[in-house]
Symmetry: C3
Subunit: 400 residues, 3 copies
């Protein structure tokens, strides 16, 4: 199951194809797909990287199977967990009953207990985890990694952080959303009218960008320097202009300068204020080091991306946690995860894929694409069954 | 007009293609398309086996023509019967007026009565009948059969039976619906919670199936034997389970055992309790022999199937007919034709066409497919214009 | 940019393809796209001949640019005119700011005023005019013509005429709508029940049609002669029939006979009562010579056509203009531009493109197609970049 698809004549693929970034996402990673409270005993159908998957709970465990009964093709998600405690799901059509863990057919109910077909049929089961309030799926053909080690520490170390998550489905390809994150200077322009940044100093733009890979090639960070907070453009006027609201006292919350002297860096030893990770997520921390937002672009299908906002707070005692949670539910959840993120949603949904004209402010975008295509986890190339015959002939950089 | 289409690379066609069962249905059969009261003087457009057809009445007759004026392409169904009693329909655009019986252009109104084009243009007319409260169309290229002889006696002998019909459009291919009928054991599982079967004894499952062709190869019946009404499955539990409602006294209406000793068999000489007929219908009778349901899967287009429920009662006198009709309108129409049939609709609409894994309980399904592909009425193969050039090269079993 | 597309196997193209009439319209013409009051300062997206275009006003001027930022692909129509008076539009994503007149990138705001990319990128700008209450666009690759000289005098000479316009989008290809206009005798049939024609004498049908090109090959007119206003059809009856309303006194407004002796011809020197012009419009005048309707079929995309009704009155003094305007808003706008035109809309939207059977009454339609294919303005054929390689091999008549 190669995860590179090439459509050589498709202009919309051009910005990605030469780097080998697949339309449906990188397969061999954990992806959040729902929050834990979205799945109860009733089976639920989800789509991930184009795969239709049924999720169900039984006996306190969560299971994920291919959402199609191999017998006559009916979706298993219309079925039910008929035998509580057995960890099985039964197809609604003829009662073929599958073990959620192994995908094995336990019984074709209508054929009786002695049917020779029992245990002779197996459907694909997906590694699935519940962790940090989220349901995680592994859609790849390789053995799953250790989730906690494969995600940013803010999510992976729940003893030190706690998380609150929400998601929204965007009508765009996942790559358009990830491209939004490597310091492409959209924040300085798109978000300047968001409630979060209106009372801040102007974010500096025209920065010099110096991308570099993270340890272990988990992603990239981008060193920023220089820049300006105001400029005059001949024939146009100033930028920013008419921002009367900036006269109000800034609160300091959105500040992106001074990371080297921040508490995050000095007290908590955080290396970078923001990082973009494989398979397609961004980590943005505060200078306090006590909060970091992870946004994750989860490919649903070619034209749908589920954007998770995973808010993470450092555990600083019971009263602080109560405050942080209340603050999120009453204020930040609305101000950031809705209003601020919806500004991005409007942009990426208005994006018509096709040829691009990248420039100085896209240094991070280019770096991300090169990095992702070169370092994404893929099955060893020695296994010829993993080579897409079309892709193999193309000058795509893989495993650089 | 060959009625075999092959799409060799289409996984969804695989279960049918090797038997030569066409995506759009077998052409050379009568199909019900509407009830008689659905068409009045105003022309009405219908689709059947992918053909757009206009139906209209004039002078007490019903006519069916291709629903496209050959002049400039406008749908005739937007027109009207401008000359009462002439059996014609006039195109709404320029008044081209066609004879409903022959399809011949009688007059191009805007060209005057002496136009040389009159009677020089003919469009396709479809054999059409009103019978048993239904409108029947013949979409094939062969001469039409005698309707009364081509359908089950319950419909074909209206002197002995009367019928009440309704239909619902399903979002599925017609083949998925027919596959539902040859004793595939879905009834025992899907319908166990229907009002019709809740108060019955459990239907036996894990039956041995022995399909055989009917006289004249009109369809198949399936001899059933053995089976069980309760079983324990290792690691799961029993089936059925938790069916508290079965403690109530059964009414006996749904019983499927004992056909050999039934009144149907002994008094009325009915050969089989259920039969599946070409081109795609099922007949299910009661042990009393005084009622039979015919369900007919009518292909509308690739993804739409009109499912007719044709209820047939033996004529047993006026008071009995009043009772049967009242019972249908007050109870059975809702309980069976809505609730029971909608359980099937949910299944076939949740079916994702593709590879299958057929098994013991599908013996009837396999038999049906083999039978239908081998025995469906088709133009004589000697006529080379009836051979689809693609199909001709394929190892499809035809006229076995 | 060749404006001929051939799809040789597409039955729906057959009636047009041999004449070289393109699916998306003739490029090198002015087209009305909106009324002037439809665009204000906020950018507005339109589609014309399949092109997505953003329209915006600044400093009293109107601009039209390709509606996609070449940087990362976001639609410019989501942006705004951030620098009033500069005639620019800024992309909502990163503030790339384009000059509306030239399409040149004036500033990539987020890169600062000294970015080397400024003035190095240019997007397509479209010639755009506001004239006669309409916004006109030139979607072609040739230099634009002089709008006033390229359109009928009723629109082009606003000192002698004034115009009121409205438009409706039809769900059909533009060619179906234009085919409606060259005296194809649909008016006599379709519109006989319209309020405009109900009180008129019956329009004559079965006319002899003699099409001829206009001076300068701007279009064609069709000399009509003979015809009848009533006929009896064997086996059917008369046409018209049952038109009880014709007994009412005719008002004379719809009369189409006697053009040679009309005021239009004798006083105003108008040559033809109706003409069909390239790229796809019809001019229909009254015998008074004081009013003419222009209907324009504007190709939006393959399946959408914007039909403009441009009503034109001769300027005959202030009080007459007040009367004409009041009459339009109170009566004619509803009676003709809604009811009468919607009868055509119903027809062309019910048209299933495909093979045709043209006849005597289609002499004008055939003449129009031949004329349009032969005389439509196209780039000089000497420029090989304008030849569609597919089209070049086909026996299409071009520049006859």
């Amino acid at each position: 199951m190669a995860d590179i698809e090439l459509a050589a004549d498709d202009a919309a693929e051009m910005p990605y194809q030469r780097f080998g970034i697949p339309k449906l996402g990188f397969e061999n990673y954990w992806y959040p797909i729902l929050t834990t409270r979205d799945v109860r005993r009733k089976p639920r159908s989800v789509r991930l990287l184009g795969n239709d998957i049924v999720l169900f709970r039984d006996a306190g465990k969560l299971f994920a199977l291919d959402d199609r009964c191999p017998h006559r093709g009916v979706k298993l998600s219309g079925g039910r967990c008929a035998y509580a405690g057995s960890g099985t799901i039964s197809c609604p059509y003829h009662g073929w009953t599958f073990d959620g863990a192994s995908g094995q057919l336990v019984a074709a109910l209508m054929e009786g207990p002695d049917s020779p077909i029992n245990r002779k049929v197996t459907i694909r089961s997906y590694p699935v985890r519940e962790y940090a309030g989220l349901i995680w799926l592994w859609p790849g053909s390789m053995a799953p990694s250790v989730l906690e080690e494969d995600v940013p520490e803010y999510i992976g170390q729940q003893d030190r952080f706690f998380s609150i998550s929400m998601f929204t489905d965007y009508k765009c390809n996942w790559r358009a959303l990830v491209d939004n994150w490597p310091q492409d200077h959209h924040a300085q322009y798109v978000h300047r009218t968001s409630p979060e940044l209106m009372l801040q100093p102007v974010l500096p733009f025209a920065l010099a960008l110096d991308p570099f890979p993270l340890d272990g090639n988990k992603g990239i960070a981008i060193r920023r320097s220089g820049g300006m907070t105001r400029a005059d453009y001949p024939g146009l006027g100033g930028f920013p202009n008419n921002e009367w609201w900036r006269v109000m006292k800034p609160s300091g919350r959105g500040n992106v300068r001074g990371f080297e002297t921040s508490k995050a860096h000095k007290v908590y030893g955080i290396r970078n204020q923001s990082e973009v990770w494989l398979p397609g997520l961004v980590v943005v921390g505060r200078l306090s080091g006590e909060y970091a937002l992870v946004q994750w672009a989860v490919p649903i299908d070619e034209n749908t991306t589920r954007c998770f906002n995973i808010n993470n707070w450092r555990r600083l005692g019971r009263w602080r946690e109560i405050y942080d949670r209340a603050n999120y539910y009453l204020w930040r959840g609305w101000m950031h995860d809705r209003i601020f993120s919806d500004q991005d949603k409007t942009m990426v949904e208005a994006l018509v894929p096709g040829p691009e004209r990248l420039s100085k402010t896209d240094v991070g975008v280019i770096a991300w694409r090169k990095f992702a295509g070169a370092h994404a986890r893929r099955p060893p190339i020695a296994d010829p069954s993993n080579i897409n015959p079309v892709a193999a002939d193309q000058p795509v950089r893989r495993h650089a």
